[in-house]
Amino acid sequence: MQLDLAEIEEIAKLLYIRALKLLPDDIKDGFMRLQRAETDPTGRSLLATMVENIAVAERDDNLLCQDTGIPIYNITIGRDVAFDGTALKEAIRRGCERATREHPLRSSVVHPITRKNEHTSCGIRVPVLHFDFDDRPETVEIEMIPKGSGSENGSFLRMLVPADGVAAVKRFVIDRVIEAGGKVCPPTIVGVGVGGTSDLCMHLAKIAATRALGSVCTDPEGAKLEAELSAAVNMLGIGPQGLGGDSTAFAVHVETAATHITMNPVAVNIQCHSARRARATITPGGVAFGF
């Protein structure tokens, strides 16, 4: 299969807009689960408003949240796919720019030092592009995540040491969720990275924070940890918007990587309740959009 770059550009544009308007089904199900369990009157009322907002966005064809985020594209390329890598990167960037200009969307992206906004949602190394490969024949998958800043500012890394043990990893997660409080727009998905290098650890936390609800860490040790932490964070009482209640997080997700004998790194990256993502699967038969 030869990738059609004009089509990729169009898909990159559509994915950004789709992600901003339609919340994935697993997140909607997550809201229903939290609503059934929430006992705090304020928490119940806030969850109801969030659910109403999802319906209003669909009815009015509007954005769920005004924060168009930092655009992230995760591209997974299967077997027997022919493409020009540099042209592919340019096509995705053009699609991201066109979504911003043509919809139009607020460009939330500025130069980090001058703070200049080019009004394209693009800049140095943005959109963030991640490439990976899998063994599906003639298949390319593009996942788009507009990562909002309220929750992205809830990002933390600690280079713990082996003597601190797993207990310190758990304490770090609980204390960072407390520190983030209502600023990260709870109920959240708390992404936790354990192991790797410092940069890999942070990246693991982002993968964890943006994983679908109901998915489980493929490392059984990570899966055990995420189940324990999911129960513990919802004992804290931070609640929706930090105004009190049972629904602090939809879930805690953990991703792991091997690390060095002298290291015990842990990272936290948080996803807000507007846990937006969109996906396009490209095969010789056409393009299928989903979450």
Partner: protein, 203 residues
């Protein structure tokens, strides 16, 4: 728990009547303000043309569209999606907003800290919580963009919105020292030990 309908601008007495746990719906006018707006006003000394005395500001940077000026879009901007951003980044601007510009109400998400609570107490102000991330709904409360100042900072300009039934908003911090965030924070601190015990990770 009382529901208040406030036609903006309002006076100090109206704001002093608000208590944590009450709800508020705003009518008529609301200003949009953000990080870059307040850095320009307070750190770079830029003057603003719009009069904020007695008004409410919401922490926002909206999605807008350029349109031909008309009675519904006097300055050629139509609102597409107007939501609310995390307030705490702008904590140090509450005091000068109230002292120098006479702002009465701040609308945001996630809450403000002790310096803001003190400013609310001293000058007569309150923090009204809107549901963050519920921007599609919030946008239905915005009738028009009436005016804009510091337009070069778009989207972080100083926006003047005409509003229609903006709320209900929850009074989360009042002028009597009350703060729902402080109350919740104390409870969370108490529950931390139990959560760590369940994890086998006690300090």
């Amino acid at each position: 728990m009382t529901h208040h309908v406030l036609h903006m601008p309002c006076d100090e007495a109206a704001v002093r009547r608000l208590r944590v746990g009450d709800t508020v719906t705003l009518e008529d006018w609301l200003f949009g303000i953000r990080d870059a707006t307040q850095i320009a006003m307070f750190d770079k000394g830029r003057n603003v043309r719009l009069d904020l005395r007695g008004h409410a500001v919401v922490h926002t940077a909206p999605n807008v569209k350029r349109v031909a000026p008309s009675p519904d879009a006097p300055v050629g901007y139509a609102p597409l999606c107007v939501g609310t951003t995390t307030s705490m980044r702008m904590e140090r601007f509450t005091e000068p907003l109230m002292r120098d510009h006479g702002v009465r109400l701040i609308i945001g998400k996630g809450g403000l800290g002790p310096a803001s609570a003190e400013a609310f107490r001293r000058y007569g102000g309150a923090y009204l919580a809107v549901v963050g991330g519920a921007a599609a709904l919030e946008t239905t409360w915005i009738a028009a963009i009436e005016d804009v100042d510091l337009d070069d900072l778009n989207p972080e300009s100083l926006w003047k919105f005409r509003v229609r039934g903006f709320g209900p908003l929850l009074v989360a911090m009042d002028s009597h020292g009350g703060s729902l965030y402080a109350t919740v924070g104390e409870r969370v601190a108490d529950r931390r030990a139990a959560a760590l015990a369940v994890l086998g990770a006690t300090d």
